[in-house]
Symmetry: C2
Subunit: 479 residues, 2 copies
């Protein structure tokens, strides 16, 4: 049973201290911890110091893990550290691991921001506008605020917390996967479940819990012909052109309606169950939100449910471009000698990258043979990642759902997403524990865009949500 | 009747002075008159002065025509002048216009030249190696050497010569077309035929006369969808992707064997006549030359005749690239919002660019409609130029053919080319006179490549050829 009095005291403390929490976020936003820019690497490290100072203040034990260096823009740079934290060590409590990142995307006033991106302001509508406010400084500081509020309210913290904050998420999370794998039986030993707050509500009014992400298989398909680029006037019509072959080949991958034509590719797609289909009926989402996101009305499906199902639980295939062809403005009489088309397939349960690779390679080879071209074909898998799907009936989700009902007076949407968040699968595979994505911000926060914002209400209610979630975990029976 | 004694005296003088002609070419090559580089514009102008000095020495009347300025690499530059010359004004003689260019392609030792590109050397095999030796300084100086040899041999020059030398050929011939059109009834009044020496033998042993060039129609086909580039994870599978549409569309343009699939496009292609087909039987050309030119064996046709016919007298379609898609190395999860595919059709008699435009636009529109995409399509003709075909039975060709037989003891190949030399059509249209392409160099001269060369024998025999051609013109009956 949840200790209702304790929770009420926690809520009250959060409300009373909300201006302090906003100031704390402002301080963090002021540190331009952009991980993808050489000149800001020191700021990323500074941000790690800012966090460990707060850990010390709150009595969170921590280790700052040096994960080596990497080369970026031809500069050898030390990677920002991964901060591991431990708050509480009571064998009678569950242990929850929370992950977040303290680095941010680049931002310049000249990009079109309405205010300086690293001087957080609060708009009259209560939007806290600044780079990193929502992605991911608001959420990571949210966890720390929740700890502090328990201390201030003098109530017992309901779980043992393990913390993993990295500073390279916006730049490939270099070094993270290895550290997680190494620490699975060490620092992360005893973790019962994982919670990540680094995504968004589907819309702008209703909270959600996210239990699935699509994976990806990315390919580079190279057609080679002449030994060098040729003049199309002199040789056009007399040699097999790699571009012609590539267009024929890629036209056979997917229809303009998005149906993938590679035989067998859809065979492993998990069938849509009644229960799952039912869950789509109540989601907060409208086509007008899609239209404003894509800035056009070129959606394939004329209804919300099919649109979301094709974003979340069906595979898709996109052609990204061609390397080696003429790509500038204007015109050039070139017959490109060697061209590499790039495409990727977003994969879903129960598709396996290895099987997808086989099907793709066989299909391309067979179709290329049909062309009767003397050019040569090669296919390379550039990158792949499995889809992620958690059990949304696990106590981790049940606790989060109850917490949402407490704070927002409604059941959360159960959502999936179309893109990948690789760390999700990394934790699930390394720890073999349930992973929950519990977003703090809204669907229109503009995480990687100009005028990134976090609504004050999402921030403050989010802190309460995190606390309530941990209290619900403490009181749930199942393991 | 040709004055055989005069011609013999001319040949003898050319042979006696051949080392001076080589020195003269060396002097010209030493001026790096690269028209496409800002820093070398002064050298192009210097080259024009070098030429007019020679005109003065030889008593050629000339006018240096200022054709204004242009902007290149953001610099406002005066265009190199067009040099117009007149040698002789006898109403009883025919008047022949010769065209050439005194600018050259860029060249750097670092590009892989075996010797300094602007310090002409003579190899043990008698190759004069240097930038511009063959394209086009050898030929234009060839005409002047022929004049000088007549003076030295004290024989009458057989025709009136009009000269048109430009300094922007390697950079778009800016200003030339307008000048020719303006001067058709003025400076070029009374011209009976045109001769251009700015192309090459088909192979390396047999001279040719060139009487046809393909034209071109170039297109930019734009497919627009979302208002901005999207993340393929979030939106893949739910929106119509411009890249998918473009690949479907372009796959319908041409087969991997080079057959154009646009309905009606082949209807206006002039049928191959028996006489024309017969002329292909004796051409000096082998597939092994093609293989070494394309550095592969990816030719469509397994015989020389079809290969040349598809290079010269049938249309071809080449896809050059895509603007707006991902074109770098590596991978990017982008769903491009607006992509423009570029392709061009090499056109032949009797195809008309306007009709080709209509067929292309209708076809793309019809095929796009079949895709059922909500994206939008637009087609733009970027550039077009008609094919050029001269009458190879005209006295201008007959004279050149007889001259070849005199110098080389064989009938020349009658060739066409696959690319365009726009000035050819410009002269033909403006003057309404027969135009002949009479090459001096060999097919392996490497005009725009490293180690450009002109064989000493081609240079010296070429000077004789030019003279003999003018004598044959003087003696031919027909007008
Ligand atoms: Zn994030
Ligand atoms: Zn982010
Ligand atoms: Zn030239
Ligand atoms: Zn040239």
């Amino acid at each position: 049973m949840v200790n209702e009095a304790a929770l009420d005291a926690f809520y009250k403390t959060v409300d009373q201290n909300q201006d302090d929490y906003v100031e704390r976020l402002r301080e963090a936003v002021a540190i331009p911890s952009i991980s993808s820019m050489v000149d800001h690497r020191d700021d990323v490290v500074r941000m790690s110091h800012w966090l460990t100072s707060l850990f010390e203040k709150l009595g969170i034990k921590y280790e700052v893990r040096d994960i080596g260096s990497h080369v970026m823009d031809n500069v050898d740079l030390k990677l920002p550290p991964i901060i591991l934290g431990t708050y509480g060590n009571d064998p009678n409590k569950k242990t929850i691991l929370v992950y977040g990142h303290y680095d941010v995307q680049p931002a310049l006033l000249e990009d079109g921001w309405s205010s300086k991106p690293f001087d957080m302001i609060e708009s009259p509508k209560g939007q806290l506008i600044g780079r990193g406010a929502s992605d991911d400084k608001g959420p990571i500081i949210g966890w720390l605020n929740a700890i502090e509020a328990h201390q201030n309210a003098e109530i017992d913290f309901p779980v043992n917390l393990k913390i993993c904050f990295e500073g390279m998420e916006e730049n490939g999370s270099e070094g993270l996967e290895k550290l997680i794998a190494n620490e699975a039986d060490k620092y992360f030993k005893g973790v019962d479940a994982v919670c990540i707050s680094d995504n968004y509500w589907l819309g702008v009014t209703k909270p959600c819990l996210t239990y699935g992400l699509r994976g990806i298989c990315a390919y580079k398909v190279t057609v080679c012909g002449p030994g060098k680029d040729l003049h199309s006037g002199v040789f056009g019509g007399t040699v097999h052109e790699p571009m012609t072959d590539l267009f024929h080949l890629f036209s056979k991958l997917v229809t303009p309606n998005g149906d993938i034509l590679i035989p067998g590719i859809n065979d492993d797609v998990a069938p849509l169950t009644d229960e799952e289909n039912q869950a789509y009926q109540s989601l907060e989402f409208s086509l007008s939100e899609l239209h404003s996101a894509i800035e056009s009305k070129t959606n394939i499906y004329d209804n919300e449910i099919e649109t979301l199902q094709h974003r979340w639980r069906y595979p898709s295939l996109s052609i990204h471009g061609i390397e080696g062809a003429f790509s500038s403005s204007g015109f050039k009489t070139v017959l490109p000698a060697k061209v590499s088309g790039k495409f990727s397939i977003r994969i879903v349960p129960n598709m396996e990258p290895k099987r997808v690779d086989e099907l793709v390679e066989k299909f391309l080879k067979d179709e290329f043979a049909k062309l009767g071209s003397k050019n040569t074909l090669s296919t390379e898998c550039l990158h792949s990642g499995k889809a992620w799907l958690a059990n949304p009936n696990h106590w981790n989700y049940v606790a989060a759902s109850k917490a949402v009902e407490r704070i927002f007076k409604c059941k959360p949407d159960l959502t999936r997403e179309g893109g990948s968040i690789p760390v999700t699968l990394t934790f699930q595979d390394a720890l073999n524990k349930n992973v929950l994505l519990l977003p703090m911000g809204r669907g229109d926060d503009g995480a990687h865009s100009i005028n990134e914002k976090l609504d004050r209400s999402n921030y403050i209610q989010g802190i309460k949500l995190f606390g309530a979630y941990l209290h619900e975990i403490a009181s749930c029976k199942a393991e």
